[in-house]
Symmetry: D2
């Protein structure tokens, strides 16, 4: 019953096998092997167009270096107020990009288009003292388990485009969002106006595989230098490539995400039928936010369930009663039906 985060899971057997195979041979370092080229080409197929792909070590690196590729002196980046770049990366995006992160509110973890427009209006291009708008970053799936619809993405990228701002998508849970929407990678990204994507594999079955995908190749021009100067160029890059090869083989990456989402669906469905717990809000990806009785939560923890509490939203102070607690439950490719059912049984009893 590991629901603390999808990064508590291990690595998928097929990915592990591919890594094992890779371990026995020699090949060129720093991304210059045949395998590296093959996997980069595979990204072109996945996204149905030529892209530039760069592997980095962490999701924080993927986001921070993506924004660094858009750096403008005195520039500000618009992000949802609960975005990872604002809440969870220790200032790395500011450090690497040299820009300030400006939070934009919005219900359900999604940037509100009107609020975005209004925020951007405060940072015109000649705004020497206040700073100037420089980029927009979206998180798909969001930090609160929701997923932007294609129309919602369109609405935000249209605002950015009108102001000349490049758009980054934080896809730490890209596959989970894709499966939730049932669309193609291209449809969810560059066809919607996304310029640069943090494409995460770590949370969905790799042990360490994060890619930055440039649809707007102008932004990639100096990126090899940005990555190297940021200490993110692996010598044995091909071990990242090997993971991605297995990850992207057939529809494995989608299958893994589909499994995680299905497990979350099972969890959501179970919670909906219970009296002793309820969903804090609706989600569609592999994250579930539930209000549990404190008794149930304690009981689950005593029986070995792992999960984290989640801050009660400021604007919904009544969401949680005095004998209740708000928790985040994350499923992954490795979650089993038994895990879910056992957890639900505990909650029901609790």
């Amino acid at each position: 019953m590991f629901f603390a985060s999808d990064n508590w899971a291990g690595a998928h057997p097929a990915i592990n096998d591919r890594l094992s195979r890779e371990s026995t041979r020699f090949a060129a370092a720093y991304g210059n092997s045949e395998l590296d080229k093959t996997v980069e080409a595979r990204f072109n197929e996945i996204f149905e167009r030529d892209v530039s792909v760069f592997f980095v070590s962490t999701g924080t690196a993927a986001n921070s270096l993506s924004l660094a590729s858009m750096a403008r002196t005195g520039g500000v980046v618009f992000a949802h107020s609960e975005a990872h770049v604002i809440e969870d990366e220790c200032g790395a995006p500011d450090f690497f990009s040299g820009m300030r992160m400006v939070p934009v509110e919005g219900a359900g973890g999604k940037i509100d288009p009107e609020k975005l427009s209004s925020r951007i209006a405060g940072y015109p291009q000649d705004s020497l003292h206040h700073g100037r708008a420089a980029a927009l970053t979206l998180t798909q799936a969001t930090e609160t388990g929701t997923v932007y619809s294609l129309d919602e993405i369109d609405a935000l990228t249209a605002i950015a485009r009108k102001k000349g701002l490049p758009v980054h998508m934080d896809g730490a849970r890209f596959a989970n969002a894709l499966v939730a929407l049932g669309c193609s990678p291209a449809e969810m990204t560059w066809k919607r106006g996304v310029d640069v994507l943090s494409f995460g594999g770590t949370k969905n079955g790799c042990w360490c595989a994060e890619a930055i995908v440039f649809f707007n190749q102008d932004l990639a021009r100096d990126f090899a230098f940005i990555r190297k100067r940021s200490a993110q160029l692996f010598s044995k890059t091909r071990f990242i490539s090997a993971q991605f090869e297995a990850y992207l083989e057939g529809d494995r990456w989608l299958d893994l995400a589909r499994h995680a989402n299905t497990m979350a669906d099972r969890l959501r469905a179970g919670i909906r039928t219970q009296n002793s717990s309820r969903l804090a809000w609706e989600t569609t990806s592999n994250e579930v936010f539930a209000v549990l009785s404190k008794a149930a939560a304690t009981s689950a923890e005593n029986k070995g369930a792992k999960f984290y509490g989640w801050p009660v939203p400021l604007n919904q102070p009544d969401l949680v009663g005095s004998d209740e607690t708000l928790v985040r439950l994350v499923t992954s490719f490795a979650t089993t039906e038994e895990d879910i059912d056992q957890f639900l049984a505990i909650c029901k009893a609790g």
Copy 2:
């Protein structure tokens, strides 16, 4: 015949096995698992004292963040003029530490103590305009295949200590140096006055395992933040820990390095006996620098040997004749006697 670099090798089977085992289970992220704690404790044993250990993704990160832990505004770092931090890291050490790298000359890839003293004297602690001395970094084994003796390390750290400068050691090939000297890890580091160590595993049998080891724990105080802000905190850190567990099990890491050095010895011995090639200079680690006839080099490449040319030292222009070429040959845990013998045969014939 892969002699291009030790980072062209794969991963050792025992390390790969340990990774495979790790892939099947769940565990806490961001370095908080039991395994992470166990492996950190193992470093205490290895170094015979309490140390603080932080894993990062690349050797460049290990060096750059080590120096960042010593950062002083207006500070300069003294390094050998051929050091990796000067020659091969795209300015990352400057970027992360905010300090300037000041090259110090010295024969055989080793900093000359007198030149170090003289250089440091140019940057006194009140030197507001010129900058002030802030750190010393040594590379062991050096970039040119040599190894500092314990006395040589002592001589340099004594100079630094007298000036109040902390000392970093770039140990990308730490194990190779250790085996070459036949001393203990403690003897080669903190007993010699080293404060912080880049402890490399990647070149010696891991696929990605670099650690920063703090003997001077004052310097480690803020380091968790430095690492996270630098985008170097892996979520699935335990996969690094797993590699290090297998790497450090028994004397495996030393055995692997010993093998690499022995292969280099075999290569050195073979070259010494040939007329058509010769050693450019003496080395004792797993790097061999040889002057080959251009015919032999071409022949070797045609038969699949991989290696890189090396710039002729400015102060030894006559080292290489007009029909000759200077090459670097690096052995690794995965190099075989057959590789060596085949290469030697080609050179002999060439």
Copy 3:
């Protein structure tokens, strides 16, 4: 009728005379002249204790470098949401300090103590992912013309002290606040727990004189290097010293601020008696925020009055009627009664 900003004024004759006198002689550069030492000592008198003083070129530099002296990796700085460091400095505080500015709300341009506590609580010292609290900065007088009482400063610095955070005060209009409160410089700063002060002279009669005053001299230890590395060490520093000497002679600096505040009082009093205009909110320093009829504003501009509009506060959308406009009117040492009376007459007619 120059009410656009106090930085539209020139320099006071006594300060100009002192500069003229300074121009005719030779003296040591980079702050090493006798005059520099004398003026630094004068700051000790002003603040009734030993302080460390550093001159810089702009208010943005004073604030940014003050915060740089408090820099902690992954640290965040708490500032009022309308503070200059957030609204008007193009990200310079982030750039020089490497920290993120976190806005805290509060009525009347003043940080609300409860909101500050709540904000700080979100950034505990071990908060690796979210970032850690590192500093508090207050603006006195505030950007909206109000002045913190001594008790109000106490309340905020007590919160900071309890959390171990150093406190910076942005005193771009320090003298205006001091005169408004009628207390001593010591009482408004270090006796209240302020560690570092941006002491502004430019807006109050100098042409360019900004000082950073360290009450907490631990924070000053590396500051000479921070200033030089930030390109803020004037070669002819003594021309800043000369300005400060004349500025601080007798009570000149307080007299100049008192004049500016008195002119603002006259403006406030006049506006209060009019039907066609009103104060947007009460202020006590040399800034007045008024709601004028658009006709009066236009008429004033046509007659040569200079002033800027001010954004209507989000939480007071009804402050301004459809035929009205919100403006900021700033007085200075150089404002005359005639300017005020002429402006008031226009408004009355308008």
Copy 4:
């Protein structure tokens, strides 16, 4: 007898008068006054073409921000090994530009073209690990009192241009060089291939007036933001403009420099005729490097002369005898014939 530096001089009376006049009036802040526009236009005349001009507070700022305008990730800047950006700015150029300064040797304080070519060749544009060539900076007049001829500048800029590198000129003593060569400002800069100029006024009669002049206006595009973010935008910018107006009025700036150079000529001529002292090397600007007997040097100091010792060049250890000392003597607009003659008399006696 103030020969320590030209920045020990005060301000020229005409410049001081202009400042005084400026002090009595109001005008728009942040470079938006009429005067600011007028003076900017004057630079167009001086340089016989449209230029973009930005004022900053110090020579270090001028150089550092100029290089920041040329910033490329992983880029390196080539400078003479004795250049101010390398020797005297506490790492500010590295800090603001994010680039590494790479020293290039050359006799007489001038970059040797062959050595420059060779250095640049080590940093090709695809040199991911070593770094890539990004800019060239020249100092005119040099730090050792010499002046590049127009042909010498041509030779260096041609090398840079062939490699696509922009060229910066550090003109802290621009006027002294110009007068020494007897050419026009245009001939010494953009007609020679210079893209950006640090145009210094402080050392030649202003108290604080440094300008960055962009001939290549592409590099100026983001510069307003670079300056503001670097805390270098004065609110009362017009006081810089006022200094420059008086400085550039008629040929005043050239007259002042001519005077300084003439005083240096007088000093050089006097030293040449003496037995007890000699010129260390020939110079043509307002800096004189002399070998004095220690007795003469002490005698001069005792009689109030101010000057600094200068390090004996490493490659000329025999330049200075055991009872001799090498000193730098700098003249300025304020140096008098009497100062020179008195000093020469002391040396002769010494």
